[in-house]
Symmetry: C2
Subunit: 270 residues, 2 copies
């Protein structure tokens, strides 16, 4: 998806998967997609795995993806092993193992199909009321600290109602809402939604708890093709217990339509 001015999108370049001589799939994990300390964002890695699954599928869109995060992964060359499952007229399954220089990085179950944008038959996912992006809070803090590549790749505008923590006013609710888009203006598609599903800071930031919360397993369901423009992301932790936290995520497109939902389990400090 080139930009409207014809230049290639940084996201497309950084998630490109190509067939190497011998038939295997390879990628160059981009250095600018980290969440601090050189560790690449989990949603970014999932998008790379999804590209590999789509390359080997008769269907164009990732619709259901679940990944185990095996180790922190840095930029560099990677290869992708796609094990195809049954493929039918409606959908196809595969297992994707993404391996970086340090070893296996993520193992993912991926289902591909053809998504549309017809109206929902039933929904209880009305988009929350959030001020327009220009009236929201620009923050350059995300992930594990300030030295974070991801904040230059995505443009986020926090709902003021969930942005108190950026100025030291902490909430008792682990909820964040933010407009989000790729910083270079590339419009959203199912692959970008995978990135957006893990792009906000940990919801613990909202209550004044910072620190590393590595993703253990992340499921993303892509429910429809997003319209061009901003997406709205809501991330919510519902249960923190025994050193584990969930993060529930819903994403709406610019028309207010639900386009993705996700849940991850992360480790947290006790």
């Amino acid at each position: 998806m080139p930009q409207t001015d014809g230049t290639p999108s940084a996201f497309d370049a950084a998630t490109a998967v190509r067939r190497a001589e011998g038939g295997g799939l390879v990628a160059d994990l981009g250095p600018g997609w980290d969440v601090g300390g050189g560790v690449l964002n989990g949603g970014y890695l999932l998008a790379v795995a999804a590209r590999a699954a789509v390359l080997d599928s008769p269907h164009p869109h990732p619709v259901a993806l679940s990944a185990s995060y095996l180790r922190a992964t840095a930029a560099g060359p990677a290869h992708l092993a796609v094990t195809p499952g049954p493929a039918g007229r409606t959908l196809a399954h595969s297992t994707v193992l993404l391996t970086g220089e340090a070893g296996p990085s993520i193992a993912a179950q991926v289902t591909t199909a053809t998504l549309g944008s017809e109206p929902a038959e039933y929904t209880v996912n009305a988009a929350p009321e959030v001020p327009a992006p220009e009236d929201c809070v620009v923050t350059r803090t995300t992930g594990a600290g300030p030295a974070v590549g991801l904040v230059r790749r995505i443009d986020t505008r926090l709902d003021p109602a969930t942005a108190g923590w950026t100025v030291g006013r902490f909430s008792d609710q682990r909820v964040l809402r933010s407009w989000i888009r790729l910083a270079d203006g590339r419009d959203p598609d199912p692959l970008a939604l995978l990135l957006f599903a893990d792009a906000l800071p940990p919801t613990a930031f909202a209550v004044g708890r910072t620190g590393w919360a590595p993703t253990v397993q992340l499921q993303v369901l892509v429910r429809a093709l997003p319209a061009p423009g901003w997406c709205l992301v809501e991330s919510r932790s519902t249960e923190v217990a025994g050193g584990w936290s969930d993060e529930e995520c819903r994403i709406w497109d610019a028309t207010g339509r639900l386009v993705a939902q996700a849940r991850q389990l992360a480790r947290v400090a006790r």
Copy 2:
């Protein structure tokens, strides 16, 4: 987990995984755990896969599981291929492929760890108010029709507020709540929670839409060890669009504590 009278639990017998000569893992998928037409329940199959993962892990409990459902699977002999990922002091990852007589059945990402039952540090998952099991609705309808083995294996008592459909009074909300336990009295544990996460009828039944809704992908997070006794399951569809439906599931134990959460994507008739 034998029963209090010393007899073996039907669930434990039907999910048993053993090491065959040569070192591979095998199971005998039980005929009584179907949802109609001889098709085995997805939660039951996930429990078998989890047993295989635990057998090959240093950790005793499945905590995060995501499975792709590759084909409808019938009772009979099966083998399980466990591909271990990194294993550390806190958790271990593996990929499990369960293959039945007709071919690969489910492919699952499984994370194992040691669960506890300490109180939650943060929760917004208060158990819903539901009448006691003896004041709830016994129904023998589940899954795809009346000829269903699963209803003899589990004991369900529907919240009257979500049971109108059993007498032809349909709701406009796709929500079901039910007490649940194994019919032979075996107490819940993380493996039983995997069964319970996919044991209620499709939430479409609540609005008078019956029919087959095959699971495409199911994620279950086990959040704590359940107390003995009944569990309470709430299943909720939030979005039906383009021939796909989600089912959100939360499970509380007899003390009202959240012990599992799950989400599946299913195919539905348009």
